[in-house]
């Protein structure tokens, strides 16, 4: 194990050496900058983006790079913890259960997540492998979170929300940048570095790397195989931005590899029936993305994006390999009163999933094609006081054929400081490969409380090719207000009716091999075990409603407070039993309070609190989390910080997966340096 004292010392030494050679930025350097450099500079036009966020008819929350640094986020999920309406729970060192507006799980399937327009959502189980997407956090320019359906533009699977992670342009990351973290608790350390430079008059490039190492969480019950190995990940990336007059091209690529250990459960039809063992978990992947933006005029813009990505995950019980090809075209026309956006896209996803007795997939390999087209018109009415957006996406999916996802949104601006909005939409979650073909076998031993008989009981959860899309109809209303200077308020009320939700219905018991006991009762004499089938069907529905609030108070440049939270209520639930309080796995409420105080030019402190309701369905108690961060800038190019996370508990659970060994997350303290030149 790496000596922690040595690492702290080395980090400090690195910081001191770097700190002695800093360069300051000088506005007069603009005169000595070349024309192409000047054209690469991001200009701050007063509040254009904030204007759009204030007026938009959606429940949008934007986390800027400053916000992400303020909460001391080391990865994307940690940043999302401070977004109202998001449920973010840590399962173990590198896995998270993340959703918006309910239905959270490690395999939460109603949230669309993208990095620079590239979907990181897998068709395998309609979710995100967050451990495969641990990109360098300081490369993120902003994260736009839209709670609620974004289907009209983003398409299927954006039922409960869309997360857009946007990375910084190469022009904004010129020079050398280094950041390193070293700590206790679960944080062994990570190093992020990039270097951006000019390749030619019109071309800028950047290479980046991230190496991270983290301890695994502590199991609730001591396991016989002993401690788990650390999780380790290496990512290497590169990007080229090219501009030629009004055209911009981007070429972006990354490869990564990670290794971890976890406890897995194996089942068998003979004693000991179930055993827990240490197993390796290895992931790797890549992507290559190209983008072309063409500005025909200030009124007409076009964008063409294409990418290929692959990811794999290998555990002792599952091997998963997938490749995705995607191409999309989008055009915007600003025609005065009408802002028209339309687009076409095509995607092909192919995978091979190898299994074991516990997990297996039928068929082992499959390919899914998705074609889509969308259209949206934003109409300005009544002297700019009213804005109506109507749009729809038409999608063809190999599993479910055609689907229409329309939406209508209205914004009303009674004054410069107030926005009222309302929206109605229909969205769809396409069935995943798991819904259609995954088989999970678990065995309950004989002579237990659940199965008192003399037979072991095999439960087979089976996907079905008859599974079709889930649908949701959502109504939202929102109110935003801001004072002349310091305060802003954002409230959203939402109500969603879900239909055809995927769940399982039990049939059985059968004798071994699926022989019916009813028609063949004698089979019980010779059957070595009994079995039951949980068949995946679309026979549940539900209604969920809630309120989300965000407040910002910033009286001056030194102090800023962000507070927010949500209340979520399952109003109706036919079939899955989620309305039953005992089964609840989403917190009914969540609150957060973030404070940033800039003492001086060089010193600042952040104090962040979160309160999360209990999850009675998986026996996770409610908790309050306190994170604190002290930051010091000894020079323009160097920052040192000390961060403590989960300071109120030495360790605590946030989420348990019933099929796995339960883990708790420890209190973490780490030091960090950031250097740029």
């Amino acid at each position: 194990m790496y000596d922690p004292i040595f690492r702290l010392w080395l980090t400090a030494l690195l910081a001191l050496v770097c700190g002695s050679a800093w360069a300051s930025t000088d506005p007069d350097s603009l005169l000595s900058a070349s024309l192409s450099d000047l054209m690469s500079i991001e200009v701050t036009s007063a509040n254009k983006r904030q204007e759009r966020a204030f007026e938009v008819a959606s429940a949008v929350y934007v986390l800027t790079a400053d916000d992400i640094a303020s909460v001391g986020a080391r990865n994307i999920p940690e940043a999302l913890q401070y977004v109202p309406g998001m449920q973010v729970a840590r399962i173990d060192t590198n896995r998270w259960a993340i959703s918006a507006r309910g239905y959270n799980d490690a395999y939460a399937d109603k949230l669309l997540v993208m990095i620079d327009g590239r979907s990181i959502y897998t068709q395998f189980y309609s979710g995100v492998y967050w451990d495969n997407n641990d990109i360098p956090v300081d490369l993120i320019e902003r994260i736009e979170v839209i709670r609620g359906p974004g289907a009209a533009i983003w398409g299927a699977n954006a039922v409960n929300g869309v997360i857009n992670i946007i990375t910084r342009d190469v022009a904004a990351t010129q020079g050398l940048y280094l950041t390193g973290v070293n700590g206790s608790g679960d944080e062994d350390g990570f190093l992020e570095a990039w270097y951006g430079g000019r390749i030619s008059t019109q071309m800028l490039g950047r290479i980046s790397l991230k190496f991270a190492q983290r301890d695994n969480g502590e199991p609730l019950v001591r396991q016989p195989d002993g401690q788990l190995e650390d999780w380790q990940q290496l990512r290497l990336g590169g990007r080229i931005d090219y501009q030629d007059g009004y055209d911009e091209w981007v070429l972006d690529a990354e490869v990564f590899s990670s290794t971890a250990e976890d406890y897995e459960s194996d089942y068998s039809l003979a004693a000991p029936w179930r055993r827990s063992f240490k197993a390796s978990r290895e992931g790797d992947g890549y992507f290559l993305r190209g983008e072309w933006r063409h500005y025909v005029s200030s009124a007409v813009q076009a964008k063409l994006t294409s990418y290929i990505s692959g990811e794999s995950l290998d555990t002792d019980q599952l091997s998963y390999r997938s490749t995705t090809y995607d191409i999309e075209y989008q055009q915007t026309h600003d025609a005065g009163q009408h802002l028209l956006v339309w687009g076409l896209g095509a995607r092909r996803y192919a995978d091979t999933i190898g299994g074991s007795f516990v997990f297996n997939m039928a068929p082992e390999s499959d390919a899914i094609r998705i074609f889509n087209g969308f259209f949206q018109d934003e109409v300005t009415l009544w002297n700019d006081a009213l804005r109506l957006i109507i749009g729809s996406k038409l999608e063809y999916h190999d599993y479910t054929r055609f689907n229409l996802q329309p939406s209508a949104r209205l914004s009303y601006f009674p004054s410069q400081s107030t926005t009222l909005w309302a929206a109605a939409s229909r969205s769809v979650r396409q069935p995943s490969r798991a819904d259609r073909g995954l088989v999970i076998n678990t065995v309950a031993p004989p002579f237990t409380a659940d199965y008192p008989g003399p037979y072991p009981f095999l439960t087979a959860l089976r996907g079905s090719v008859d599974v079709y899309e889930e649908t949701a109809k959502t109504l939202e209303i929102g109110y935003r207000w801001r004072s002349a200077r310091a305060i802003s308020l954002d409230i959203t009320l939402h109500l969603t009716d879900y239909d055809d939700l995927v769940s399982s219905s039990f049939s059985g018991p059968f004798c071994a091999g699926g022989i019916s006991l009813q028609t063949n009762p004698g089979c019980i004499v010779t059957s070595p075990y009994l079995e039951g089938h949980l068949v995946t069907t679309n026979d549940t529905s539900g209604r969920v409603g809630g309120i989300e609030i965000a407040i910002t108070y910033q009286p001056d440049d030194q102090w800023r407070t962000d507070a927010g939270g949500h209340w979520l209520e399952v109003l109706k639930d036919r079939g899955a039993g989620r309305a039953n309080e005992r089964n609840r796995t989403d917190p009914r409420y969540q609150l957060f309070l973030r404070n940033h105080y800039q003492f001086s030019e060089r010193w600042s402190v952040d104090v962040n609190l979160r309160r999360v309701d209990e999850l009675p369905g998986i026996l996770v108690p409610a908790y309050t989390s306190l994170d604190m961060q002290l930051r010091w800038r000894p020079s323009e190019s160097l920052e040192l910080s000390l961060t403590g996370q989960s300071l109120l508990d030495s360790q605590r659970p946030e989420f348990f997966l019933s099929s796995e060994v339960e883990k708790e997350m420890p209190r973490t303290v780490y030091v960090r340096f950031r250097f740029e030149r």
């Binding site: 360069a23 000047l38 054209m39 690469s40 500079i41 019109q202």
Partner: protein
């Protein structure tokens, strides 16, 4: 990853820092960047007639987007062959300036500017809306947070001025 490799990585990164000194680009206010781009124009624009040694760069108005030029077009920073004057009276442009910049803040006087410029045969630059469509020669606009410019090549050629190919390569050419 072995302990030795990690220590080596730390040390190597530390030593290599001092060797790298590229320009660091950051977000700056719009009028400063536009002013710097117009300043560059004055360097890359020449009279076709080689006997004309100097060119007068004029900036119109009293608004902050114009007065910023007083700071950057000082005696120490003026490009070779360029003289500078800021005018509040548009009519003073005639027969005095070879290049003139009108900021978008004076958009309502655009037609007056273009007419006077046309009568004088001078090269016009502005960030006013639809500048080229209205008859201008070099238009600046902000696209996705970055400043871009368009050049109406024929109108520029009619003034007897030439623009360096380095600059034209970065422009959107309008025929």
């Amino acid at each position: 990853m072995s302990i030795l490799w990690q220590r080596w990585l730390h040390l190597t990164l530390c030593l290599s820092l001092s060797l790298l000194l590229p320009l660091q680009v950051m977000a700056v206010d719009e009028k400063s960047v536009k002013a710097a781009i117009v300043y560059n124009f004055s360097r890359f624009v020449r009279e076709k007639d080689p006997s004309v040694a100097t060119r007068m760069m004029c900036v119109l108005g009293d608004v902050p987007e114009a007065t910023i030029f007083d700071e950057i077009m000082s005696a120490e920073t003026l490009p070779e062959g360029v003289t500078y004057q800021r005018l509040t009276n548009f009519a003073d442009m005639k027969h005095r300036c070879q290049i003139a910049f009108m900021p978008a803040a004076l958009q309502d006087r655009l037609q007056e500017f273009l007419q006077l410029a046309d009568e004088s045969g001078l090269l016009t630059i502005s960030d006013a809306d639809n500048f080229i469509e209205q008859g201008g020669m070099v238009g600046l606009e902000v696209i996705r947070g970055k400043v871009r410019f368009s050049v109406h090549v024929k109108r520029v050629a009619d003034t007897g001025m030439t623009i360096d190919s380095q600059l034209l390569r970065l422009a959107r050419i309008v025929e």
